[in-house]
Symmetry: C2
Subunit: 119 residues, 2 copies
C-alpha cells in the first residue's frame, strides 16, 4: 500500500463522505484512460486542422497535406492517430486513399469546444 505517501490534511470538511461519493460515480479507470486518449487526439492543431478539412469534403492524403502546407509524412502519421480513435475512416480510390469523417461526434465535440473558447 502506498497510502502513507498521501498526506491527510486536517481541514474540517467531510473527507469520508466525499471519497465514498466519488468512488461511486467515477467511471472505471479503463474508461477514464480511453476518454483522456480521445481528448488528446483533439489536443493538437494539426489534427484539428485535418478534421476541419474533412468537414468540407472527403479528401486524399496529398490534398490534405497540400491544404495545410505540411509534408505527406506528417499528415499520414496524424491520420493514423485519428483513425485509431475512430474519428475518421478511409477508402481506396485508384492510387489514392480517401479519408473521411467516421461520424458526427467529431463535429459535435469540436463545436462544444468552440462554444467554450468563444465564451
Amino acid at each position: 500500500m502506498s497510502e502513507e505517501k498521501i498526506q491527510e490534511c486536517k481541514c474540517e470538511h467531510d473527507h469520508i463522505g466525499f471519497v465514498d461519493m466519488v468512488k461511486h460515480d467515477m467511471p472505471a479507470d479503463e474508461h477514464l484512460y480511453d476518454l483522456a486518449d480521445l481528448f488528446k487526439v483533439f489536443g493538437d492543431t494539426t489534427r484539428i486542422k485535418i478534421l476541419y478539412v474533412l468537414f468540407e469534403s472527403d479528401m486524399c492524403v496529398c490534398d490534405i497535406a497540400d491544404s495545410l502546407g505540411m509534408t505527406q509524412s506528417a499528415i499520414s502519421h496524424q491520420l493514423k492517430v485519428l483513425k485509431q480513435s475512430k474519428l475518421i475512416s478511409n477508402r481506396r480510390d485508384g492510387k489514392s486513399i480517401i479519408y473521411y469523417l467516421a461520424d458526427d461526434h467529431v463535429r459535435t465535440i469540436i463545436g462544444m469546444g468552440m462554444d467554450h473558447i468563444l465564451e
Copy 2:
C-alpha cells in the same frame, strides 16, 4: 518562403478547389490553438478525475487530493491548468480554497467524449 519544402503530388483530384474551400471555413489560427489547448486540458486522466470529483460537489484541494489518492502538489498544479482554461473557479472558505465547475460546458464536453468511446 518554405513552399518548396512541401511536395506536390500529381493525383487527379482538384487541388486548388479544395485548398480555397478549406481556407474559407478554417477558423483563425489563434482559435485553432485555443481549441487544441482546451482539448489538451481534457486529455489527462488526473484532470478528468478532478472534473468528475467536482461533478459531485464543490471541494477543497486537500479533499480532491485525498479522493484521488494523489499529492496536494500534483493536484494543485493541475487545478491551475483547469482554472486557466476557465473550466473551474474557486473561492476561499476559511483556510481552504474551494474549487467548483465554472459552467456546464465541462459536463457537455465530457458527456460527448463518453458517448464516443462507448460507441
